[in-house]
Symmetry: C2
Subunit: 196 residues, 2 copies
Amino acid sequence: MVQSGRDVAICDATLALLLEVGYDRMSMDAIAARAHASKATIYRRWPGKQELVLDAVKARGVGLTVAEDTGSLRGDLVATYRSAVHGSAADDADLIAGVLRAMRTAPELADCVRSQVIESKCDVSRVIVARAVARGELPAETDPLILHEVASALWFHRVLVVGGPVDDAFIAHVVDDVLMPLLDRSSRSAELQETQ
Amino acid sequence: MVQSGRDVAICDATLALLLEVGYDRMSMDAIAARAHASKATIYRRWPGKQELVLDAVKARGVGLTVAEDTGSLRGDLVATYRSAVHGSAADDADLIAGVLRAMRTAPELADCVRSQVIESKCDVSRVIVARAVARGELPAETDPLILHEVASALWFHRVLVVGGPVDDAFIAHVVDDVLMPLLDRSSRSAELQETQ
Protein backbone atom coordinates (compact mmCIF):
# COMPACT_ATOMS: atom_id res chain seq x y z
CA MET A 1 0.00 0.00 0.00
CA VAL A 2 1.14 3.51 -0.83
CA GLN A 3 0.51 5.66 2.22
CA SER A 4 2.70 8.68 2.89
CA GLY A 5 3.16 11.81 0.83
CA ARG A 6 6.74 10.73 0.19
CA ASP A 7 5.51 7.38 -1.16
CA VAL A 8 3.15 9.22 -3.47
CA ALA A 9 5.98 11.43 -4.73
CA ILE A 10 8.13 8.35 -5.41
CA CYS A 11 5.29 6.60 -7.26
CA ASP A 12 4.54 9.71 -9.31
CA ALA A 13 8.23 10.01 -10.25
CA THR A 14 8.25 6.32 -11.24
CA LEU A 15 5.27 6.65 -13.58
CA ALA A 16 6.59 9.89 -15.09
CA LEU A 17 9.94 8.26 -15.88
CA LEU A 18 8.25 5.10 -17.17
CA LEU A 19 6.47 7.24 -19.77
CA GLU A 20 9.51 9.39 -20.59
CA VAL A 21 12.31 6.85 -20.92
CA GLY A 22 10.64 3.42 -20.69
CA TYR A 23 11.01 0.63 -18.15
CA ASP A 24 14.39 -0.70 -19.33
CA ARG A 25 16.20 2.63 -19.21
CA MET A 26 14.60 3.84 -15.97
CA SER A 27 17.08 3.70 -13.04
CA MET A 28 16.45 3.82 -9.31
CA ASP A 29 18.91 6.77 -9.25
CA ALA A 30 16.73 8.72 -11.67
CA ILE A 31 13.58 7.90 -9.67
CA ALA A 32 15.24 9.06 -6.44
CA ALA A 33 16.41 12.30 -8.07
CA ARG A 34 13.01 13.03 -9.57
CA ALA A 35 11.20 12.35 -6.27
CA HIS A 36 13.77 14.29 -4.18
CA ALA A 37 14.23 11.15 -2.09
CA SER A 38 17.30 9.09 -1.20
CA LYS A 39 17.80 5.68 -2.75
CA ALA A 40 17.98 4.28 0.80
CA THR A 41 14.45 5.59 1.44
CA ILE A 42 13.16 3.90 -1.71
CA TYR A 43 14.87 0.58 -0.98
CA ARG A 44 13.44 0.56 2.57
CA ARG A 45 9.96 0.40 0.98
CA TRP A 46 10.53 -1.50 -2.29
CA PRO A 47 13.02 -4.29 -3.04
CA GLY A 48 13.41 -3.24 -6.67
CA LYS A 49 12.17 -1.44 -9.76
CA GLN A 50 9.55 -4.04 -10.62
CA GLU A 51 7.81 -3.88 -7.22
CA LEU A 52 7.95 -0.10 -7.34
CA VAL A 53 6.32 0.11 -10.79
CA LEU A 54 3.66 -2.38 -9.71
CA ASP A 55 2.78 -0.36 -6.59
CA ALA A 56 2.80 2.87 -8.58
CA VAL A 57 0.36 1.43 -11.13
CA LYS A 58 -1.88 0.08 -8.33
CA ALA A 59 -1.77 3.43 -6.51
CA ARG A 60 -2.86 5.24 -9.66
CA GLY A 61 -5.94 3.03 -9.51
CA VAL A 62 -6.63 2.84 -13.22
CA GLY A 63 -9.70 0.74 -13.88
CA LEU A 64 -12.36 -0.84 -11.72
CA THR A 65 -12.04 -0.93 -7.97
CA VAL A 66 -15.51 -0.90 -6.38
CA ALA A 67 -18.68 -2.76 -7.39
CA GLU A 68 -21.40 -0.14 -6.92
CA ASP A 69 -24.67 -1.36 -5.41
CA THR A 70 -27.75 0.25 -6.98
CA GLY A 71 -30.38 -2.47 -6.73
CA SER A 72 -30.35 -3.60 -10.37
CA LEU A 73 -27.88 -5.30 -12.73
CA ARG A 74 -27.96 -2.51 -15.30
CA GLY A 75 -27.66 0.13 -12.58
CA ASP A 76 -24.69 -1.66 -10.99
CA LEU A 77 -22.87 -1.95 -14.33
CA VAL A 78 -23.38 1.70 -15.31
CA ALA A 79 -22.50 3.05 -11.83
CA THR A 80 -19.42 0.82 -11.50
CA TYR A 81 -17.99 1.80 -14.88
CA ARG A 82 -18.76 5.46 -14.22
CA SER A 83 -16.96 5.40 -10.87
CA ALA A 84 -13.91 3.83 -12.56
CA VAL A 85 -13.56 6.80 -14.90
CA HIS A 86 -11.68 9.59 -13.23
CA GLY A 87 -9.17 12.07 -14.51
CA SER A 88 -8.50 12.44 -18.20
CA ALA A 89 -8.72 9.44 -20.50
CA ALA A 90 -5.66 10.76 -22.36
CA ASP A 91 -3.51 10.51 -19.21
CA ASP A 92 -4.79 7.00 -18.56
CA ALA A 93 -4.11 6.02 -22.17
CA ASP A 94 -0.50 7.23 -21.98
CA LEU A 95 0.02 5.33 -18.74
CA ILE A 96 -1.59 2.15 -20.09
CA ALA A 97 0.41 2.34 -23.33
CA GLY A 98 3.58 2.83 -21.26
CA VAL A 99 2.81 -0.10 -18.97
CA LEU A 100 1.91 -2.39 -21.90
CA ARG A 101 5.21 -1.45 -23.56
CA ALA A 102 7.09 -2.17 -20.31
CA MET A 103 5.29 -5.53 -20.03
CA ARG A 104 6.61 -6.54 -23.47
CA THR A 105 10.24 -5.99 -22.47
CA ALA A 106 9.97 -7.26 -18.87
CA PRO A 107 8.06 -10.57 -18.70
CA GLU A 108 8.34 -10.75 -14.89
CA LEU A 109 6.70 -7.32 -14.62
CA ALA A 110 4.04 -8.51 -17.09
CA ASP A 111 3.19 -11.49 -14.88
CA CYS A 112 2.85 -9.25 -11.81
CA VAL A 113 0.69 -6.66 -13.58
CA ARG A 114 -1.57 -9.38 -14.99
CA SER A 115 -2.07 -11.24 -11.72
CA GLN A 116 -2.17 -8.30 -9.29
CA VAL A 117 -3.72 -5.47 -11.29
CA ILE A 118 -5.73 -6.82 -14.22
CA GLU A 119 -7.08 -10.11 -12.91
CA SER A 120 -7.90 -8.66 -9.48
CA LYS A 121 -10.46 -6.40 -11.20
CA CYS A 122 -12.31 -9.60 -11.98
CA ASP A 123 -13.62 -9.59 -8.40
CA VAL A 124 -15.77 -6.58 -9.29
CA SER A 125 -17.54 -8.61 -11.99
CA ARG A 126 -17.95 -11.52 -9.58
CA VAL A 127 -19.68 -9.29 -6.99
CA ILE A 128 -22.00 -7.70 -9.58
CA VAL A 129 -23.03 -11.07 -11.04
CA ALA A 130 -23.51 -12.62 -7.58
CA ARG A 131 -25.84 -9.79 -6.57
CA ALA A 132 -27.84 -10.11 -9.80
CA VAL A 133 -28.14 -13.87 -9.22
CA ALA A 134 -29.32 -13.24 -5.63
CA ARG A 135 -31.96 -10.79 -6.96
CA GLY A 136 -33.13 -13.34 -9.52
CA GLU A 137 -31.98 -11.23 -12.46
CA LEU A 138 -29.48 -13.80 -13.73
CA PRO A 139 -29.33 -17.61 -13.51
CA ALA A 140 -26.94 -19.06 -10.93
CA GLU A 141 -24.63 -20.48 -13.62
CA THR A 142 -23.85 -17.07 -15.20
CA ASP A 143 -20.10 -16.83 -15.84
CA PRO A 144 -18.67 -13.57 -14.42
CA LEU A 145 -15.43 -14.14 -16.35
CA ILE A 146 -17.16 -13.45 -19.67
CA LEU A 147 -18.56 -10.16 -18.32
CA HIS A 148 -15.10 -9.23 -17.05
CA GLU A 149 -13.31 -10.15 -20.28
CA VAL A 150 -15.73 -8.38 -22.63
CA ALA A 151 -16.03 -5.21 -20.52
CA SER A 152 -12.27 -5.01 -20.02
CA ALA A 153 -11.58 -5.61 -23.72
CA LEU A 154 -14.03 -2.92 -24.83
CA TRP A 155 -12.49 -0.42 -22.40
CA PHE A 156 -8.88 -1.05 -23.52
CA HIS A 157 -9.97 -0.96 -27.17
CA ARG A 158 -11.77 2.37 -26.66
CA VAL A 159 -8.87 4.02 -24.83
CA LEU A 160 -5.92 2.65 -26.82
CA VAL A 161 -7.14 1.76 -30.29
CA VAL A 162 -10.17 3.94 -31.04
CA GLY A 163 -8.82 6.77 -28.88
CA GLY A 164 -12.31 7.94 -27.88
CA PRO A 165 -13.53 9.19 -24.50
CA VAL A 166 -14.90 6.77 -21.88
CA ASP A 167 -17.93 8.98 -21.25
CA ASP A 168 -21.55 8.29 -20.25
CA ALA A 169 -22.53 7.64 -23.88
CA PHE A 170 -19.80 5.02 -24.30
CA ILE A 171 -20.68 3.35 -20.99
CA ALA A 172 -24.37 3.20 -21.99
CA HIS A 173 -23.34 1.67 -25.35
CA VAL A 174 -21.21 -1.03 -23.67
CA VAL A 175 -23.90 -1.89 -21.11
CA ASP A 176 -26.99 -1.70 -23.36
CA ASP A 177 -25.62 -2.89 -26.71
CA VAL A 178 -23.21 -5.59 -25.51
CA LEU A 179 -23.20 -6.62 -21.84
CA MET A 180 -26.93 -6.70 -21.06
CA PRO A 181 -27.81 -8.56 -24.32
CA LEU A 182 -24.98 -11.03 -23.64
CA LEU A 183 -26.01 -11.63 -20.01
CA ASP A 184 -29.70 -11.66 -20.93
CA ARG A 185 -28.96 -14.31 -23.55
CA SER A 186 -27.41 -16.54 -20.87
CA SER A 187 -30.47 -15.92 -18.74
CA ARG A 188 -32.87 -16.81 -21.60
CA SER A 189 -31.08 -20.01 -22.54
CA ALA A 190 -31.16 -21.09 -18.88
CA GLU A 191 -34.91 -20.35 -18.73
CA LEU A 192 -35.45 -22.38 -21.89
CA GLN A 193 -33.56 -25.31 -20.40
CA GLU A 194 -35.67 -25.10 -17.25
CA THR A 195 -38.99 -25.07 -19.10
CA GLN A 196 -38.03 -27.92 -21.44
CA MET B 1 0.36 -0.86 -52.47
CA VAL B 2 3.71 -2.40 -51.66
CA GLN B 3 4.86 -4.31 -54.71
CA SER B 4 8.56 -4.80 -55.36
CA GLY B 5 11.17 -6.60 -53.31
CA ARG B 6 12.80 -3.25 -52.68
CA ASP B 7 9.52 -1.87 -51.34
CA VAL B 8 9.26 -4.85 -49.01
CA ALA B 9 12.81 -4.28 -47.75
CA ILE B 10 12.02 -0.61 -47.08
CA CYS B 11 8.81 -1.49 -45.23
CA ASP B 12 10.57 -4.17 -43.17
CA ALA B 13 13.29 -1.66 -42.23
CA THR B 14 10.61 0.87 -41.26
CA LEU B 15 8.81 -1.54 -38.91
CA ALA B 16 12.09 -2.79 -37.40
CA LEU B 17 13.16 0.79 -36.61
CA LEU B 18 9.70 1.69 -35.33
CA LEU B 19 10.07 -1.07 -32.72
CA GLU B 20 13.69 -0.29 -31.89
CA VAL B 21 13.75 3.50 -31.56
CA GLY B 22 10.10 4.59 -31.80
CA TYR B 23 8.33 6.77 -34.35
CA ASP B 24 9.64 10.13 -33.17
CA ARG B 25 13.31 9.20 -33.27
CA MET B 26 13.11 7.22 -36.51
CA SER B 27 14.70 9.12 -39.43
CA MET B 28 14.39 8.58 -43.19
CA ASP B 29 18.22 8.36 -43.23
CA ALA B 30 18.15 5.44 -40.81
CA ILE B 31 15.40 3.69 -42.80
CA ALA B 32 17.40 4.11 -46.04
CA ALA B 33 20.56 2.76 -44.41
CA ARG B 34 18.76 -0.23 -42.91
CA ALA B 35 17.04 -1.08 -46.22
CA HIS B 36 20.22 -0.53 -48.30
CA ALA B 37 18.23 1.95 -50.40
CA SER B 38 18.83 5.59 -51.29
CA LYS B 39 16.65 8.28 -49.72
CA ALA B 40 15.77 9.37 -53.29
CA THR B 41 14.32 5.88 -53.91
CA ILE B 42 12.21 6.09 -50.78
CA TYR B 43 10.94 9.61 -51.51
CA ARG B 44 9.94 8.58 -55.05
CA ARG B 45 7.44 6.13 -53.46
CA TRP B 46 6.45 7.85 -50.22
CA PRO B 47 6.10 11.59 -49.47
CA GLY B 48 7.13 11.16 -45.82
CA LYS B 49 7.59 9.04 -42.73
CA GLN B 50 3.91 8.89 -41.88
CA GLU B 51 2.85 7.49 -45.28
CA LEU B 52 5.71 5.01 -45.15
CA VAL B 53 4.75 3.69 -41.70
CA LEU B 54 1.12 3.43 -42.77
CA ASP B 55 2.00 1.40 -45.90
CA ALA B 56 4.39 -0.78 -43.91
CA VAL B 57 1.66 -1.57 -41.36
CA LYS B 58 -0.85 -2.30 -44.14
CA ALA B 59 1.67 -4.51 -45.98
CA ARG B 60 2.25 -6.52 -42.82
CA GLY B 61 -1.45 -7.28 -42.96
CA VAL B 62 -2.04 -7.65 -39.24
CA GLY B 63 -5.65 -8.51 -38.55
CA LEU B 64 -8.62 -9.37 -40.74
CA THR B 65 -8.47 -9.06 -44.48
CA VAL B 66 -10.79 -11.64 -46.09
CA ALA B 67 -14.31 -12.71 -45.08
CA GLU B 68 -14.22 -16.49 -45.56
CA ASP B 69 -17.35 -18.05 -47.08
CA THR B 70 -18.24 -21.42 -45.52
CA GLY B 71 -22.04 -21.50 -45.77
CA SER B 72 -22.84 -20.70 -42.12
CA LEU B 73 -22.43 -17.74 -39.77
CA ARG B 74 -20.44 -19.69 -37.18
CA GLY B 75 -18.27 -21.26 -39.90
CA ASP B 76 -17.58 -17.86 -41.49
CA LEU B 77 -16.56 -16.33 -38.15
CA VAL B 78 -14.22 -19.18 -37.18
CA ALA B 79 -12.63 -19.46 -40.65
CA THR B 80 -12.18 -15.68 -40.99
CA TYR B 81 -10.49 -15.28 -37.60
CA ARG B 82 -8.32 -18.33 -38.27
CA SER B 83 -7.14 -16.97 -41.62
CA ALA B 84 -6.23 -13.67 -39.93
CA VAL B 85 -3.81 -15.42 -37.58
CA HIS B 86 -0.47 -15.92 -39.24
CA GLY B 87 3.06 -15.79 -37.95
CA SER B 88 3.77 -15.54 -34.27
CA ALA B 89 1.41 -13.68 -31.98
CA ALA B 90 4.44 -12.31 -30.11
CA ASP B 91 5.72 -10.56 -33.26
CA ASP B 92 2.27 -9.11 -33.91
CA ALA B 93 2.01 -7.95 -30.30
CA ASP B 94 5.34 -6.11 -30.50
CA LEU B 95 4.29 -4.45 -33.73
CA ILE B 96 0.89 -3.47 -32.40
CA ALA B 97 2.37 -2.14 -29.14
CA GLY B 98 4.89 -0.15 -31.22
CA VAL B 99 2.22 1.28 -33.52
CA LEU B 100 -0.08 2.18 -30.59
CA ARG B 101 2.84 3.97 -28.93
CA ALA B 102 3.59 5.83 -32.18
CA MET B 103 -0.10 6.79 -32.45
CA ARG B 104 0.06 8.45 -29.03
CA THR B 105 2.94 10.73 -30.03
CA ALA B 106 1.83 11.40 -33.62
CA PRO B 107 -1.89 12.24 -33.81
CA GLU B 108 -1.83 12.56 -37.62
CA LEU B 109 -0.44 9.02 -37.87
CA ALA B 110 -3.12 7.89 -35.39
CA ASP B 111 -5.89 9.28 -37.62
CA CYS B 112 -4.47 7.50 -40.67
CA VAL B 113 -4.04 4.17 -38.90
CA ARG B 114 -7.57 4.36 -37.50
CA SER B 115 -9.27 5.23 -40.77
CA GLN B 116 -7.18 3.18 -43.20
CA VAL B 117 -6.15 0.12 -41.18
CA ILE B 118 -8.52 -0.43 -38.26
CA GLU B 119 -11.85 0.81 -39.59
CA SER B 120 -11.34 -0.79 -42.99
CA LYS B 121 -11.42 -4.19 -41.26
CA CYS B 122 -15.03 -3.39 -40.50
CA ASP B 123 -15.89 -4.36 -44.08
CA VAL B 124 -15.14 -7.97 -43.20
CA SER B 125 -17.83 -7.91 -40.49
CA ARG B 126 -20.27 -6.24 -42.92
CA VAL B 127 -19.77 -9.01 -45.49
CA ILE B 128 -20.18 -11.80 -42.92
CA VAL B 129 -23.37 -10.27 -41.45
CA ALA B 130 -24.83 -9.56 -44.92
CA ARG B 131 -24.33 -13.21 -45.93
CA ALA B 132 -25.91 -14.46 -42.69
CA VAL B 133 -28.88 -12.11 -43.28
CA ALA B 134 -29.23 -13.43 -46.86
CA ARG B 135 -29.21 -17.02 -45.54
CA GLY B 136 -31.88 -16.14 -42.98
CA GLU B 137 -29.54 -16.73 -40.03
CA LEU B 138 -29.73 -13.14 -38.77
CA PRO B 139 -32.43 -10.45 -38.98
CA ALA B 140 -31.87 -7.71 -41.57
CA GLU B 141 -31.34 -5.06 -38.90
CA THR B 142 -28.33 -6.80 -37.30
CA ASP B 143 -25.62 -4.21 -36.66
CA PRO B 144 -22.25 -5.37 -38.07
CA LEU B 145 -20.47 -2.59 -36.14
CA ILE B 146 -21.14 -4.34 -32.82
CA LEU B 147 -19.67 -7.59 -34.16
CA HIS B 148 -16.65 -5.69 -35.44
CA GLU B 149 -16.12 -3.75 -32.21
CA VAL B 150 -16.45 -6.73 -29.86
CA ALA B 151 -14.32 -9.10 -31.98
CA SER B 152 -11.63 -6.47 -32.48
CA ALA B 153 -11.61 -5.55 -28.78
CA LEU B 154 -11.29 -9.18 -27.65
CA TRP B 155 -8.40 -9.74 -30.09
CA PHE B 156 -6.43 -6.66 -28.96
CA HIS B 157 -7.10 -7.54 -25.31
CA ARG B 158 -5.88 -11.11 -25.82
CA VAL B 159 -2.69 -10.09 -27.65
CA LEU B 160 -1.70 -6.99 -25.67
CA VAL B 161 -3.19 -7.29 -22.19
CA VAL B 162 -3.64 -10.99 -21.46
CA GLY B 163 -0.65 -11.92 -23.60
CA GLY B 164 -2.14 -15.28 -24.61
CA PRO B 165 -2.04 -17.03 -28.00
CA VAL B 166 -4.75 -16.40 -30.60
CA ASP B 167 -5.19 -20.12 -31.25
CA ASP B 168 -8.15 -22.31 -32.23
CA ALA B 169 -9.29 -22.59 -28.61
CA PHE B 170 -9.35 -18.81 -28.18
CA ILE B 171 -11.19 -18.31 -31.50
CA ALA B 172 -13.81 -20.93 -30.50
CA HIS B 173 -14.22 -19.13 -27.15
CA VAL B 174 -14.75 -15.75 -28.82
CA VAL B 175 -17.21 -17.14 -31.38
CA ASP B 176 -19.18 -19.53 -29.13
CA ASP B 177 -19.12 -17.72 -25.78
CA VAL B 178 -19.47 -14.12 -26.97
CA LEU B 179 -20.22 -13.41 -30.64
CA MET B 180 -22.81 -16.10 -31.42
CA PRO B 181 -24.76 -15.48 -28.17
CA LEU B 182 -24.66 -11.73 -28.83
CA LEU B 183 -25.82 -12.07 -32.47
CA ASP B 184 -28.34 -14.75 -31.53
CA ARG B 185 -29.79 -12.41 -28.91
CA SER B 186 -30.33 -9.73 -31.58
CA SER B 187 -31.96 -12.37 -33.73
CA ARG B 188 -34.27 -13.53 -30.89
CA SER B 189 -35.38 -10.04 -29.93
CA ALA B 190 -36.21 -9.33 -33.60
CA GLU B 191 -38.24 -12.57 -33.78
CA LEU B 192 -40.11 -11.59 -30.62
CA GLN B 193 -40.93 -8.20 -32.12
CA GLU B 194 -42.20 -9.89 -35.30
CA THR B 195 -44.45 -12.31 -33.45
CA GLN B 196 -45.89 -9.66 -31.15
